[in-house]
């Protein structure tokens, strides 16, 4: 294993105290930012009441293929001389208490399904389910799009997926550019980057629920993301670098941070899916392409922002300094660049871009959840690895490829497998070109 400690100076107890304080400071910062969400939402999903409470439950969540909850659907369970019904609640949850464990016939009343949604092909209804030693039995009903008005031809769906893929790829790029810059300048593989993505969407939702006007809420959310990056570097990563911590332990620290922050989000936000204002809109038809206007906006915004980042990196002194630090920190420091300052700016910009990516991701899915960032963390990693670890423009191209690939493969793969293709491609690319598309050979191995 190669590990290059970056700060040679070991500091004693002051360093230690700093780091402990740091960890809590970071958490505190997260909690403060996430706190408004607590008031804004009901923390735990309330299941639809069943007439009697029994120890055993048959339950499940009804979500359509876009993972939006389906409320108001009646479900009946019969068996062992018992019959119970439940109606799915606003978050799609349903639960039927039953007196004894055993086999039950569960039937979903398809006439109560909202229009345009029906059970996916091959979904048995009614079906027999059996308890297996646990007191809760979850039953999954998969849904598909109902009556499709007209059959789309293949070329058209490819075009649609392509536009969606570019939009998705660009929002991934927002997050991966930050990840890649951080990796390039500090060597840290940051597993907590997904949580920085989540923060943007959660903060926007919270501010908006608090009654802050939308555009102000967006600005506040992005500022929150930048602040999170700044606080993380100031309070956690810089002291650790000063202590001379190697890269692998830092990576594991970032995993700990990711776990702590993610569950802190869930602690305040609850497990439910919420929607940002204007998240549910109908598709518009532009020429041959049918696309959600949010997806188009997202495409436009991320393209402009990424172009701006690219210009800053290529044309300004700061960008030059950043690239120099990414290339060789020691040499950059020797030529008079303030490495710590560059790294701090990289964290701030990385946090800001991740938060923006999170907001766009919340509109793209659509929905805000406590774990939405960690859901795309691997897609971000795939983009960064594909482009070449530590190369900013590689991360951009890699993310675009991953985004487009994920959307295009969803034409052939079932929706719940759409991330698999991208991950497989990443592994295969590592086989043949481990340095990635734009990486240089000597970076590897």
């Amino acid at each position: 294993m190669q590990s290059t400690p970056r700060g040679p100076s070991k500091r004693g107890s002051t360093g230690i105290r700093k780091v402990t304080g740091a960890i809590f400071a970071v958490l505190l910062a997260v909690l403060m930012i996430a706190a408004p969400a607590a008031q804004a939402t009901t923390p735990s999903p309330s299941p639809s009441p069943s007439p009697t409470t029994f120890q055993n439950n048959i339950s499940g969540f009804l979500r359509d293929d876009a993972r939006t909850p389906i409320p108001g659907v009646r479900i009946k369970a019969t068996g062992n001389g018992f019959e119970g019904t439940a109606t799915s609640s606003a978050n799609g949850q349903w639960s039927i208490g039953v007196p004894v464990q055993g086999t039950y016939k569960v039937e979903l009343d398809t006439s109560t399904l909202p229009q345009g949604i029906k059970l996916a092909e091959g979904q048995e209804n009614p079906r027999n389910v059996t308890f297996s030693q646990t007191s809760n039995l979850s039953v999954i009903f998969a849904f598909g799009k109902g009556i499709v008005v007209q059959q789309q031809d293949l070329g058209q769906s490819i075009l649609n997926r392509l536009v969606a893929g570019i939009s998705f790829g660009l929002l991934l790029a927002l997050a991966s550019v930050g990840l890649s810059l951080i990796f390039g300048t500090t060597g840290l593989t940051n597993f907590a980057h997904g949580e920085m993505v989540t923060l943007g969407a959660l903060a926007l939702f919270a501010f908006n629920a608090w009654g802050v006007p939308f555009w102000l809420a967006v600005i506040l959310a992005l500022t929150g993301g930048a602040a999170f990056g700044y606080v993380q570097d100031l309070a956690l990563w810089r002291p650790l670098r000063r202590r001379g911590m190697a890269l692998v332990p830092m990576m594991i620290v970032s995993i700990g941070l990711a776990l702590a922050v993610r569950y802190a989000y869930q602690f305040f936000f609850g497990g439910a899916t919420q929607q940002l204002p204007g998240a549910q809109v109908t598709d518009v038809q532009i020429g041959p392409i049918s696309v959600s206007p949010n997806t188009l906006w997202s495409l436009l915004i991320s393209a402009v922002v990424i172009a701006a980042v690219g210009i800053v990196l290529l044309r300004t002194r700061l960008g030059k300094a950043t690239r120099a630090v990414a290339d060789n920190p020691a040499l950059a420091a020797a030529s008079g660049i303030d490495v710590d300052r560059v790294i701090r700016i990289v964290w701030v910009v990385g946090g800001l871009l991740a938060a923006l990516g999170g907001v766009l991701w919340a509109y793209y899915r659509p929905g805000v959840t406590w774990d939405m960032g960690s859901q795309i963390l691997l897609a971000i990693f795939a983009g960064v690895t594909l482009g070449g670890l530590g190369t900013v423009f590689g991360a951009l191209i890699g993310s675009l490829v991953v985004g487009i690939f994920i959307e295009l493969t969803s034409l052939v793969l079932p929706p719940d497998l759409k991330y698999v293709g991208a991950l497989v491609v990443m592994i295969v690319v590592l086989l043949f070109r481990p340095q990635g598309i734009l990486g240089r050979r000597e970076r590897v191995g």
């Binding site: 993610r262 990693f381 990443m426």
Partner: protein, 323 residues
Amino acid sequence: MDIGNILLLALGEFLTPTTAAYGLAALGLAVHFGYSGLLNFGQAGFMAIGAYGFAISTLQFKVPFIVGLLIAVVAASLFALLLGVPTLRLRADYLAIVTIAAAEIVRYIVTTNTLFRITGSADGLSSFQREFDTFNPFPAGTYIFGWSNRDFYVRVISWAVVILSAVIVWLLMRSPWGRVLKGIREDENAVRSLGKNVYSYKMQALVIGGILGALAGLLFTIPRGSVQPANYATDLTFFLWTVLLLGGMSTVLGPIVGAMIFWAVLSLTQNLLSGLIESGAVTFISTVQAGQLRFILVGVALMLLMVYRPQGVFGNKKELAFA
């Protein structure tokens, strides 16, 4: 709130099959990371392969128990080879990213509705443990700690597997083979210059740790008689890393004791918090939130461990896989 009962419950966690499974899987990680320096972030994938390999072959192909076991082990070995071939020659963080991605691929595949008939989708599979239960030599009745004969049986088997594996790993690591592995961990190029095939040693370590992971998957699922894909998310891997770092990464006992501490502390905090909530002493969080608070603590514990005591409870600071 009954403090005595809460303490008893926490002590009871020491010997559950789940604790044994965590200990064994973390032992596999110790072989990977503690002894060989391989960053495996996909141990949950190995566990899932073991559990599903056994469950699917038992339910679909009606193979006898021992064949199911072999299939689980072989599947995990193949998975390790598949991951090792592209990544073992590359820098350590590539293996980390590839293993975590591969584990997620496994989870997506066993979750998809398309394969409902084989994997049971998100519901998972159950009732594959019947043949295992027929081997139970203990007559029905109540055993120590009020365990039923099945409780007693699964605990005896689980810990027998863990102890046996621990002895094997201990013997392996003090053999010449183990010394080469530790040498690779310390300085790969030095070992290579002695004429050892570093790649092949790393691959062997990856396979052995993966097999331990698969066996841990069996210990995790057979006692409860069901397997659900949601249990094999990346969080499981991260918990295993916490267990490993808690105990000490380059030790044999460390991961096992780490698992005991991990589960005892989780049980203690959960029961204390819910006790406090029920008695009205704590009103500002709900029982659900108490569960999440524990995992926040796990994350903080992982960070603090890494910063202040990376060698864990038992480890030797000189034997760290990273300096």
